[in-house]
């Protein structure tokens, strides 16, 4: 577990802040130009399809982050490593914000496409449940004061919440929903044209970099908190 040495992680990630921030700014500028200007409008949805370039990456990243948190929580129960808890805790704020963005931008997209801001559709409802799991996770850290209890409770929240992830993923296949089935598939050919796939990939990369940046800042905050307690003990 030397790989998870906090001091080493702190010193090494400290070096990469500036690069990540600059790279994020470049990629997001490029992504915005591609998404708002260069990419074509959809033959059916018109220009409203451009909302996809913020909605889809946010949804992907929110699912990815929660999956990571759940995986780390399982490892916490197995290895009892506190650093894994800090990593999961530091991932949660950006995951929550991405879920919120996915829900709100989806709602904005729904109005011109479906004629309604909200529908109790399987995909949307399960995303809302995911948002509540993020909220419960973040609130648990504020409510519970005993360290051991809060670690157990937050780990349980993320493990239980992880059962919702495949339901979100396959909800559009299992049920007849307003939400369209996925157009991008890893194992088979995607149904999206290259001219739309390029900005989508750029925006996803930019959003992933942003979540990495927030994660590193949050992780360092948590480490400094621990070091503050260490100074009290000297």
């Amino acid at each position: 577990m030397n790989f998870f040495n906090q001091n080493k992680i702190f010193l090494s990630i400290n070096k990469y802040y500036r690069f990540i921030l600059i790279f994020f700014l470049i990629l997001s500028s490029l992504g915005l130009i591609e998404a708002l200007i260069i990419s074509p409008e959809d033959y059916l949805q018109g220009d409203s399809v451009r909302i996809m370039y913020v909605h889809v990456p946010s949804a992907w990243i929110s699912l990815g982050i929660f999956s990571c948190m759940a995986f780390l929580s399982v490892l916490v129960f197995i290895f009892k490593n506190r650093n894994l808890v800090i990593i999961a805790k530091s991932l949660a704020p950006s995951g929550f914000i991405f879920t919120l963005i996915a829900l709100v931008t989806g709602s904005i997209w729904g109005k011109p496409t479906w004629g309604t801001w909200w529908a109790w559709d399987a995909r949307i409802t399960t995303m809302l449940i995911l948002c509540f799991f993020y909220l419960m996770y973040l609130l648990a850290w504020r409510i519970f004061e005993k360290r051991d209890s809060v670690i157990k409770i937050t780990s349980l929240i993320s493990i239980i919440g992880a059962f919702n992830i495949p339901i979100i993923k396959f909800s559009v296949d299992w049920w007849s929903t307003l939400h369209q089935p996925s157009s991008i598939k890893i194992l088979s050919e995607s149904k999206i044209h290259e001219s739309m796939l390029t900005p989508l990939i750029i925006m996803t990369a930019a959003f992933a970099l942003f979540s990495l940046l927030i994660f590193l800042m949050k992780y360092n905050t948590e480490l400094i908190k621990i070091k503050n307690k260490g100074l009290d003990r000297l």
Binding site: I214, K218, N220, L231, D232
Partner: protein, 76 residues
């Protein structure tokens, strides 16, 4: 230019979605950066109150020097 912002009537939806995303990004960045700065300041204050023996003990950890150097903020 007007055509760009109107986007055939969808501009209000498209730009509100993008602006909402940007506001959330900026908000989250400011909050997390503020928390980091606050903890670093608290650390520097506590470090300043240590006696000589405690300082030499604390200085054995490279991470403490790194936090004090405020390198984190100069790089963000």
């Amino acid at each position: 230019m007007i055509n760009f912002f109107s986007m055939n009537g969808y501009g209000i939806y498209v730009f509100s979605a993008f602006i909402f995303t940007m506001i959330n990004f900026l908000g989250l960045y400011i909050v997390v950066r503020y928390q980091l700065k606050k903890e670093q300041k608290k650390f520097a204050e506590k470090f300043g109150k240590l006696n000589l023996n405690q300082v030499s003990e604390a200085n054995k950890q490279k991470i403490n020097k790194e936090i004090l150097s405020a390198g984190i903020f100069s790089k963000i």
